[in-house]
């Protein structure tokens, strides 16, 4: 049977506000257990929530960033369920009237085309705490540092048909939210958590099959694998005539399988009702327009601008733009050296390679954009050959100074003086009569190959500092003169 996969995604995005959504506690990741939980976060008797305006602004930024309709009057609701790390016995969320309503998110694919994803809604809510099972032998610990961290839950329509589409969406979402400055989008730390609703149907059919929900997959790679593995599981079941159970499943990365977490056959009744401790959020047009005016250039606009302004290839732009810090770095390098193509090459090549090797990000690159620009400027003006440039790059990485300081300290200046080069060329020709004879006897194609020998000898003699362009010209003339 030919199956088609139908998927919708729910992303829980932690908003990067300084304090929690309903209390003044810090949202910093990694504090000692319960040190960042105050009486509100603990759900102490008599405590009341006070909405963090920053969380509202971030949600509106997101809504405007995807061109969604902003709910002019959104309401918080209580979602009731008991769990030890849910201090109040209810989660304050938005059920009936979310802050971000329907929108359309154009997700760029690798081939340069766009994949439209319909956003159903995005709503504000508070995160729960964490149950800690591995500290006490017979008991469960509760850490409420995370409780009350603002979340934006972003829900899509079931528009995804392949794992690649889903991952592209998540990557584009990640890029967007970092551009908007509303979240660090760090999946490993749980700042961006993804639930995948997935069902199968016969290709060509219109109905929807029974879905399972895969919870909390914490990397792009695992999302892709989890989808493939769940697809295989459901297809196997269907093909052997069995049915799919509607349930929540967890992805086990080590086994690369999903396993059942809890059955949703008896659907949870969360008994949502409007949160009486908070007023509705009413946003007037002025507020929304002020937020819109504060939006930065977003990835799509930047991609287009990079292509126009810097004549970058789509390929280079697609690699540079998604990472906001990298795009900024690129622009700084271009500003200091004026060579977009070289800047892109160095950033995507040597610099990215070195950063990856050292497991670093461009934010903490040991080579500043200015210094990389300085290096590229010395390539452009002929001071450095590409070979010498790599040496200087390594020295920049080791923080030996800026490009000019390194060139001076190591006497790496490229020899472009034709007098000096001429002497070297003449020396090599006179010392290698056999090779010269061979060269002269060869045809045009072979001559090109054979000239490499002379270049190599001269480079060796000049310690790599000979200007290759001038050298080649000289060599060609001198060799031709021999005939």
């Amino acid at each position: 049977m030919n199956w088609e996969m139908v998927m919708g995604l729910e992303v829980h995005l932690q908003l990067a506000t300084q304090s929690k959504i309903f209390s003044g506690s810090s949202t910093q990741f990694g504090g000692a257990p319960n040190e960042q939980a105050d009486a509100v976060d603990l759900g102490m008797p008599g405590m009341l929530p006070v909405l963090n305006e920053e969380a509202v602004r971030f949600a509106v930024r997101f809504g405007l960033g995807i061109g969604a309709r902003i709910g002019e009057r959104s309401v918080f609701d209580r979602k009731n369920y008991f769990y030890p790390d849910l201090p109040k016995g209810y989660q304050v969320s938005q059920f009936f009237a979310p802050i971000v309503c329907e929108g359309l998110f154009e997700v760029p694919l690798e081939d340069g085309s766009f994949f439209p994803v319909r956003i159903t809604r995005a709503h504000l809510e508070e995160d729960a705490g964490k149950s800690v099972h591995d500290i006490f032998s017979q008991e469960t610990g509760i850490d409420l540092n995370r409780a009350g961290t603002p979340l934006l839950e972003i829900v899509t329509e079931p528009d995804f048909r392949t794992a690649e589409q889903a991952v592209s969406y998540l990557k584009a979402l990640h890029s967007l939210v970092t551009y908007l400055g509303i979240s660090d989008g760090n999946m490993a730390e749980g700042s961006m958590r993804c639930d995948i609703n997935i069902s199968l149907r016969e290709k060509g059919s219109e109905g929807l099959g029974t879905r399972s929900e895969i919870k909390n997959v914490n990397s792009f790679r695992f999302v892709e694998r989890a989808i493939h593995s769940e697809y295989a599981r459901q297809a196997d079941l269907l093909e052997s005539g069995q049915t799919i159970t509607q349930e929540t499943r967890l992805y086990d990365a080590e086994q690369n399988t999903t396993r059942s977490m809890r059955s949703k056959e008896v659907a949870n009744d969360y008994r949502y009702f409007p949160e009486p401790d908070l007023l509705p959020i009413v946003l007037d047009k002025e507020y929304i327009e002020a937020v819109r005016a504060s939006l930065p250039e977003l990835p799509e606009a930047k991609r287009a601008r990079f292509a126009n302004e810097f004549a970058l290839s789509k390929y280079d732009a697609a690699l540079l733009v998604p990472n906001h810090a990298m795009a900024d770095y690129f622009e700084s390098v271009v500003k200091s050296c004026g060579s977009p193509k070289l800047a892109a090459n160095w950033i995507l090549g040597d610099l990215s390679g070195a950063l990856n090797r050292h497991e670093m990000t461009i934010q903490n690159s040991p080579i500043s954009a200015n210094r990389l620009g300085g290096l590229i400027a010395r390539i452009e003006d002929g001071t450095l050959s590409s070979k010498l440039a790599k040496q200087v790059f390594d020295a920049l990485w080791d923080q030996e100074g800026d490009a000019d300081q390194i060139i001076a300290a190591r006497s790496l200046k490229q020899v472009s003086d034709s007098g000096a080069l001429e002497t070297m060329v003449e020396d090599v020709i006179s010392q290698n009569p056999d090779q010269v004879a061979q060269y002269l006897a060869a045809d045009e194609v072979k001559r090109k190959k054979l000239s490499g020998f002379f270049v190599g000898q001269i480079m060796k003699a000049s310690k790599g500092q000979a200007n290759p362009k001038i050298l080649n010209e000289l060599l060609l003339r001198k060799l031709t003169d021999q005939s």
Binding site: A39, L42, G43, M44, P45, G46, M47, L48, P49, V50, L51, R78, N80, F82, P84, P87, K88, G89, Y90, I142, A267, D269, R271, Y272, F273, P276, D277, L278, L279
Partner: protein, 492 residues
Amino acid sequence: MVDTKLLTTPVSQLRQLLQERDISSVELTQAYLNQIDAVNGALNAVITICREQALEEARVADAQLAKGQAKPLTGIPILHKDIFCTHGVRTTCGSRMLDQFIPAYDATVVSKLKAEGVVVLGKCNMDEFAMGSSNETSYFGSVKNPWNLDCVPGGSSGGSAAALAAGMAPLVTGTDTGGSIRQPASLCGITGLKPTYGRVSRLGIIAFASSLDQAGPMARTAEDCALALTVMAGVDAGDSTSADMPVPDFHAALNTDIEGLRIGLPREYFNDDLDDAVRNRVMTGLGELEKAGATLVDIDLPHSHYAIATYYVIAPAEASANLARYDGVRFGHRCDKPKDLVDLYLRSRSEGFGEEVQRRILVGTYALSAGFYDAYFNKAQQVRRIIAQDFHRAFEDVDVIAGPSAPGVAFPFGAKQQDPVAMYMEDIYTLAVNLAGLPGLSTPAGLIDGMPVGLQLIGKPFDEQTILNMAHRLQLDTDWHMAHPNLEISAS
């Protein structure tokens, strides 16, 4: 020795005695502590007594008074309903669930009064989680009505009302979700004011039904209530539902001229169901106001009969969520040796909550459940708006709406305990005021067979001033508010 007459002197006079140094706050505090010691055994109105702390606060107040730095309530002893969180002082909410709970924070009402220099004598008994109209649901035992020890004091602020009536404090705080200030004020013969929803911060008040809860003062006189409300009221950044409205000096603004004010009498309150004796007392009180120049007009609140049903969907629904935090995990009662998580929840909550609280949690949970939400909670919200509209429409024609505070006088213990609906009827004249978010006040209207009965005055939103003015005028023209119970177990 302190004159026991002091124990029934209103705050407005006590503050003059204090400011003129005729009496010290320490003496006053000691006098009330003595009275508490003398009568609390019989009345059970106070759960926690803050003896040493109170005397220390009184000394500080005396120092301020001596320096001439006194504020209007400096040195005045007060008892708080045990629903207000008090920093370092056990706050039980009348429940086993919180019988060991000591907050690390003060409710805004408590801190505002503290900043004023009041002396906190202790915490008053109450119906468990403010759910009850007779104070019989308290884990700490029922409170006796000082007018008749065989009768209830009303509820849920029954401890506060009884304590005040028995001279254990000159001023007490209460909360009112459906009548919990006004009904016990009526049954104990004192003055109680429920302000407009949002007038007084709810921060630090243990929640029953968030959209209805409101704190207010209970005292001997309307004048005292005006003094206290001026301190208690005001917007609070910590309570998003508190109203950003200017707070007048209600006391300074008291105006006894009620000439020309129109008082609406809802036909639905003065119908055949109203007890004749109560009608008689209420009409006598209204007659006094008429003599003072007010005009009585009949009005309609056509949806009044939906108030109880509406209230008993919304309040339990909100309560079912508000009380979910008492799960035995972080604070409050935890059952012994839980087998697993479900056992922890089930036993902690079954042991920690009394019968009425459990009943309301179940009712509220049901009203919010899938398939019932529209029929119950949603419908109740719609009816609530209609009930509020009734009042707003009526207020286009009148300045104040008046009626009984309660359907009768204090009843004997056990009389209504087996029949929840009969008990819920106790609040038939008060519930709608909470649903509409309006201010309401109960002022004494004389006695029926030796037991007090109250007259209720309902004001426009944020117009506490007019009902305070009217009650004050009534109290100048009559002495019903000065009637005191003859406690056989009176102070030494």
